[in-house]
Amino acid sequence: MNKFSALVLAVLSSSAAAQTPATNPMPDGSRDMYVGLGLASAARYEGAEHSERKLLPVLQVQWSNGVFISGMSAGMHLSHDPRFEYGPLLELQPRRDESGNSGGIDGIEARASIVALPLAAFSQNRLSGVAPVSTRLLGGGFLNYYLAPDWRLTGSLLYGAGNDRDGARLDLGLQRLAMQVGAHHRISVAAGLSFVNAGYNKAFFGVDRNDSLLSGNPVYRPGGGLKDGHLGVRWNWDLAPSWMLTSNLRVRRLADDARRSPLVERPTNVTVSAAIAYRF
């Protein structure tokens, strides 16, 4: 039953790709919900050298009609075939300003840095003077295919990122779901690639003439293509029927035009998080 117990618990990382929990058939009118809180250490923004520690709200809700909320994503499972999952998908992309990624939508992904970085850390802040990228609601869809009950290919396409709302991102991945490593311990492993269009790269990695004048970064006009490759490991520990400790390690390496951006201080970012969640 690995596949079926494969809880893809969303951790609200601003750098997380759109997440689609495994389909979760349940009685009509029921729901399955996790709410929790933890800590995360993540780069201030994609490509930042410095990390910061944040409080980490956790939220995942699935309803019997297929609708789900998973971290910053929401969607609906439309397939009744256990080999496929597909449906519409929305994702809230948090604002990025010179202090890094943020959020602040209804307390979900509320930016609450509990470790103040010394000012010296920002003295070389490459986002200083760069126009903020506003919070955007991306829309699109997802399609997952199970090679076997424990292995799934994942895909999602989202559009609407950036101030011009013309950024598109295609995430492709392979997941090994819920390897049981003892009583109540499960580990999931994922690897994936993200492809974006020029609009997306321009919004997050480009520097236009105004930004250049204000920030001192050279003008940079990236094209589309491969944005990054990423690997992730998640460890879920079922402490009790209603309590779970979920920990996540994710490594993301920027590529091609994104990597060459003058805004990128280091191409590889590591995100570590741990949170305790209650199942309602």
């Binding site: 039953m1 079926f4 117990s5 979760n24 058939p25 349940m26 009685p27 009509d28 009118g29 029921s30 399955d32 933890g38 800590l39 520690r53 009744h80 075939d81 256990p82 080999r83 509990i114 470790v115 103040a116 010394p118 295919y145 199970y146 090679l147 076997a148 009950p149 049981q180 003892g182 009583a183 109540h184 520990w237 079922d238 402490l239 009790a240 029927p241 209603s242 309590w243 400790l245 741990a274 305790i276 199942r279 309602f280």
Partner: protein, 235 residues
């Protein structure tokens, strides 16, 4: 910075303490009813033919050699408890209950076998008279294969190769014979082995009937004892 480190350490300690307390309170072995429901309801929702097959929840100990004889599974909700008797293969009929799902009920195992997991197990329906036509067994195996392919795309290349009769360890003298259309009979060999492929456990008396050639309704497999289960074999 020191204050911040202390704050982080305090939060981690709090997380650890919560984890420890919760783990102690629920030291008994359990699995989530919701997780089991998720696994079991797939068979209910399957729209293909399934008249000759059935689905059970099977308890699978994680510790090698743990015996399931005499154990009982308890479905524990907030207000009610339901006892589910296990057969010698660790199987039980799983109740699909909205109230238990909404309660986030647990499945508790009475008895000390250590940690366990649960999984759905599909088998062929049994007949009281113990007489199975070859064609019936083939049809039932095809139904089981159809469901297996539906639930697991990696099985799409598999074919039905036969069935395995699994008997209780103390079933007395187990005898399964093949009765051919020409009136001849042949005893099928008895072997000791695990009930399910890839499963750890002591041997059960088993008899394998392999499908050979084209289906014929005149060939019968006759079991003198009621088996615990008849399982499809996929090649």
């Amino acid at each position: 910075m020191t204050m911040a480190r202390h704050l982080i350490a305090s939060c981690l300690l709090l997380l650890g303490a919560c984890a420890g307390v919760a783990a102690d309170v629920y030291a008994a072995d359990w699995v989530s009813y919701r997780d089991a429901y998720r696994a079991m309801v797939v068979f209910e929702k399957y729209g293909g033919p399934k008249t000759h097959i059935q689905n059970h929840l099977q308890v699978v100990p994680l510790e090698k050699g743990a015996a399931l004889d005499g154990l009982q599974l308890t479905l524990a909700g907030k207000a009610n408890q339901l006892r589910l008797a296990l057969d010698p293969l660790g199987r039980t009929v799983f109740p699909l209950l909205k109230a238990a799902y909404d309660d986030n009920a647990t499945l508790l195992l009475e008895g000390k076998i250590g940690a366990f997991t649960v999984r759905p197990r599909v088998s062929l329906t049994l007949k009281a008279d113990g007489i199975y036509d070859d064609a019936e067994l083939r049809a039932a195996c095809e139904q089981a294969l159809g469901f297996a392919r539906y639930a697991d795309a990696s099985l799409r290349a598999r074919q039905c190769g036969g069935v395995r009769f699994v008997f209780a360890r103390r079933a007395g003298e187990t005898a399964v014979r093949l009765h051919r259309a020409d009136g001849t009979e042949q005893a099928l060999p008895l072997a000791s082995g695990a009930a399910f492929a890839g499963e750890i456990g002591e041997g059960f008396p088993t008899v394998v009937y392999r499908f050979a050639g084209a289906a014929t309704g005149r060939t019968q497999v006759i079991s003198a004892n009621l088996p615990l289960a008849i399982l499809p074999l996929f090649d």
